[in-house]
Amino acid sequence: MAEWIVRQLPALVILMPFTAAPLAYLLGAKFGRPIALVSALLSQPLALLLAIRVSRVGTLRYEVGGWGGPLGIDLVVDGVAAVMVLVTTVVGLFVTVYALGYFGDRERYRFFWPLWLFLWGSLLALFLSGDIFNLYVCLELVSMSAVALVGLTLSREALVAAMRYMLAAILGSLFYLLGVALIYGAFGSVDMQTLREVIRGDTTGQAALALMTVGLVLKTALFPLHFWLPPAHSNAPSPVSAVLSALVVKGSFYILVRLWVDVAQTAAFPGASTVLGVLGATAIFWGSIQALRQERLKMLVAYSTVAQIGYLFLMFPLVTGGGPAAADAWTGGVFHAVSHALAKSAMFLAAGTVLARFGHDRIEGLGGLSRRAPATAMTFGLAGVTMMGLPPSGGFVAKWQMIRASIESGQWWWAVVVVAGGLLAAAYVFKVLGPFFGREPEAMDEADLDPGPSPWTMEGAALALALGSLVLGVLGQPLLDLIMVSAPALVAGVTP
């Protein structure tokens, strides 16, 4: 039995939410909540076991239904996939716990549970996909469930934001699919392992890569294609915002990294990596400046996501040269994705607590929050530490690696960007923290609306995520090691 579970782990991990999702739909709101919680809890040991297994034996391959390629679907779990599964599962658990308190058992939100479980499963499937067409399908699954979740409140703003998001998402997927078609046409395979051997840096290959990149960049909301993200992320219900910012954008980014670093490797063209790096750097500055401008907490957090996504893209110019710099950039980039997932979900959840309690999220109306909701203020502060990339936090470890890679590869200017970005992050984090620690607003009519403390599960879940992002900064070494397990040849320093 134990051995069977270990062998089936990749499938079981995905099946857990995918099984729970229809159940939650069919059994209605009353049962959706416990089903989601049970699924979330059961997922934890599975994901953890999977990670441990990968760290012990390296890449796992799993042929769904025993079909095998090229028609069947293969699941492939290497270090980075295991890490992404793990972070999705952990964030998923806390978001679920939070959502229990946030949505209560209101009928209006009964679709949250199946949609959320569905999104969860889709994300895991995406991370474990072994071929680029299956990735397209997963990408669409993720997008559709995410769009539905954004529109969940059915308010005007949310619907419009969802629409915007949807159009962007479909367009992005189409770009990607076009690239897949070209790749298949040129190299005759969609399996990434095969492609790795046969892909060449010829015009078709690069054109295909370029199209896929454009689509994925759009779906990852890299500047200047971030137009859909702030409205979608800020208008969604907070647990959804948390998942969108923490995990969903990472999905498309994950594919991009896979393509560039794992599949294309030397076939990737250096000019484009510089373009991506420059856009990433611009995103860091632009997102932070826009965040600084916001007067609403959730908008600020959403723009912070725009900025933080920028860091992920600094990975591209840093890995292209290979060598130790590539390894550092690789671990740094993935680690940033992980720690940002924890911290950003914590921030959105904290913002959600505020919104749910006070009925608004105007920053200037939240003066003295640390007095009224100390745990929430603390959550925001701790998550802010990761945003700023200060130690001890996962963000710091990530930035450390990025700065290291910059200097190592002789591209010190990216180090300047990383440091400056941290400072800008500090500017918007403290724009919020200042009032939180400050005095109550003069006109305290908000206080009259204060229905009292939020459920401890909400505050606790958010705080746990924030603390998690900090713990990563001290105890993150195992995770760093896991990222390097069966890492792509380009970053592992092995000639393919």
Binding site: G367, G368, S370, R371, P374, M378, G381, V385, M388, L390, P391, P392, F396, V397, K399, W400, Q401, I403, R404, I407, E408, A415, V419, A420, G422, L423, A426, F430, L433, G434, P435, F437, G438, R439, G473, V474, L475, G476, Q477, L480
Partner: protein, 500 residues
């Protein structure tokens, strides 16, 4: 785990644990919080003293250590003699400050937040003291940066928020520079552990001279802000909006000393002789010398009592920087000893500022006329500390100045003598008028006959600590020759720091 490592980990962990408990207790359970805080502080004192004992026993190369893997260096703690000195200073003064703060904050709001972050700050300071390498140092350094912010803006007034912004505007970019410097250094030199006499390979001076100079600049830029080195000092006076216990322990001891302690670690235990070879320590010494004069001149013009103290701190911190930057074990001992000496004296002065503002609502030097009659114990303690800072023996300030002065000649840097001389005159020029006003000017009528009959001159929870710290400052100078005094301890340390 041996008792040595237990003490080491406990010294850093106890304040953090205290913080967690305080946060968990919430705002309204004052008695329990005070008990926990005092117990935590007492435990910390025991732990740091034990760690110091262990350090002394293991000196100079068998220090107890503990750590975990992180990045390319590792996150590790080590109880060495230099660190133990700072840790003991921070731990002991924390205990005293806790008593003071309980008195000072008894009518303030947000006490849980205050005491919680306060404990975090102390834990970070001790962590900084006991860090075994630059990565660990940096981690605690930044925690300290952040945990200080809520304390600076504690009152929540717009002025406080502005002070907090100024603080961050200086502190955060510095952190970035420090991070860049540490990463770069690790790339060039491999994992850098602190080691007496410098840990860099001397060959690096010829292979990477430019990079080493740039890294030194980055590192000093990073720690120089907390060390209030000119021109990075601007935040310190602005941060004086903080409550008195914060100014006392953090802006006179933990935070600012973390900066100069960092300089000491970088100059002595990372660069070592390379610093002199590359010429960077000479530049640092010159900058410190300038800061000493600059801070003192600025202090002259301040009427706001705390601001005057703050500028005095700016100047005094550079004594420490200057000492460690000079190529003489005597000067290094002077710098290191001043770390402890200035702590005791300046904390007394800030305690005074708090006690005076709470008791008689006097915030400006010009309001101090005759204060000595109204608060004799307080002003005696203050005067003692002030003459110590000026460098009048037998208070501790003289001891460090003496070692610095003699050491500067030993190091062949005679110009330092002029700096010390001018600084002494300036120190006198800004402190003696305060003493003069307090004791020699005609008091307000209601002050002329001392505190109200049968009443103490203020909250004893505030008066007793400041008398104690003043006594400590005096004792550290008077008994400088005793083997366990900071000055002797520093001389022992300095002998290893300067073996070449």
């Amino acid at each position: 785990m041996t008792w040595e490592t237990t003490a080491l980990v406990g010294a850093v962990g106890a304040p953090f644990l205290t913080a967690v408990l305080i946060f968990a207790l919430g705002e309204h359970r004052d008695a329990a919080r005070s008990r926990i805080n005092l117990a935590g502080a007492a435990l910390t004192v025991v732990a740091v003293v034990a760690a110091a004992v262990a350090a002394r026993a293991g000196a100079p190369d068998a220090y107890p250590s503990a750590g975990i893997a992180l990045l390319d260096i590792g996150f590790s703690l080590r109880a060495d003699m230099l660190g133990a000195l700072f840790a003991v200073v921070a731990g002991v003064l924390w205990l005293i400050t806790t008593v003071y703060a309980i008195g000072y904050m008894s009518r303030a709001s947000d006490r849980a937040r205050f005491f919680g972050f306060f404990s975090v700050c102390v834990g970070s300071a001790i962590g900084i003291a006991l860090s075994a390498n630059l990565l660990t140092f940096f981690v605690f350094y930044e925690v300290l940066t952040l945990a200080t912010y809520p304390l600076v803006i504690h009152s929540g007034t717009p002025a406080a928020l502005k002070g907090g912004r100024t603080y961050l505007t200086y502190a955060l970019p510095a952190g970035g520079a420090l991070a860049a410097g540490v990463v770069w250094l690790n790339l060039i030199a491999g994992p850098v552990e602190f080691a007496a006499g410098g840990s860099l390979d001397p060959a690096l001076a010829s292979t990477h001279p430019g990079a080493l100079i740039a890294i030194f600049a980055l590192l000093i830029l990073g720690v120089g802000v907390k060390a209030a080195l000119f021109p990075l000092h601007g935040w310190l006076p602005a941060a004086m909006v903080a409550p008195a216990p914060v100014s006392s322990l953090l802006h006179a001891v933990a935070v600012v000393k973390a900066g100069v302690f960092g300089i000491a670690r970088i100059v002595l235990e990372v660069y070592g002789p390379l610093g002199h070879e590359l010429g960077v320590t000479q530049v640092l010494a010159a900058l410190a010398g300038f800061t000493i004069i600059f801070g003192s001149v600025r202090a002259l013009a301040q009427d706001d009592f705390k601001k005057r103290l703050a500028f005095s701190t700016v100047a005094q911190l550079s004594y420490i920087t200057l000492g460690v930057a000079l190529a003489s074990p005597i000067a290094i001992a002077g710098g290191i000893a001043h770390l402890a000496h200035h702590a005791a004296m300046k904390i007394t002065m800030f305690f005074t500022a708090g006690a005076v503002s709470e008791e008689v609502k006097a915030y400006r030097v010009s309001e101090f006329d005759g204060l000595g009659r109204r608060m004799p114990l307080t002003m005696t303690a203050f005067s003692l500390a002030a003459i110590g800072i000026v460098g009048v023996p037998p208070v501790a300030g003289f001891t460090s100045k003496w070692l610095l002065g003699v050491g500067s000649i030993d190091a062949g840097s005679g110009w330092v003598i002029a700096v010390l001389g001018i600084s002494s005159v300036l120190n006198a020029a800004y402190f003696f008028p305060i003493i003069h006003r307090a004791w020699f000017r005609t008091p307000k009528p209601e002050w002329a006959h001392g505190p109200a009959a049968g009443k103490p001159e203020g909250d004893m929870r505030m008066i007793v600590p400041l008398v104690m710290t003043a006594a400590i400052g005096l004792a550290m100078g008077l008994l400088a020759g005793v083997a366990l005094s900071p000055a002797s301890w520093a001389q022992t340390v300095a002998a290893w720091e300067f073996p070449w």
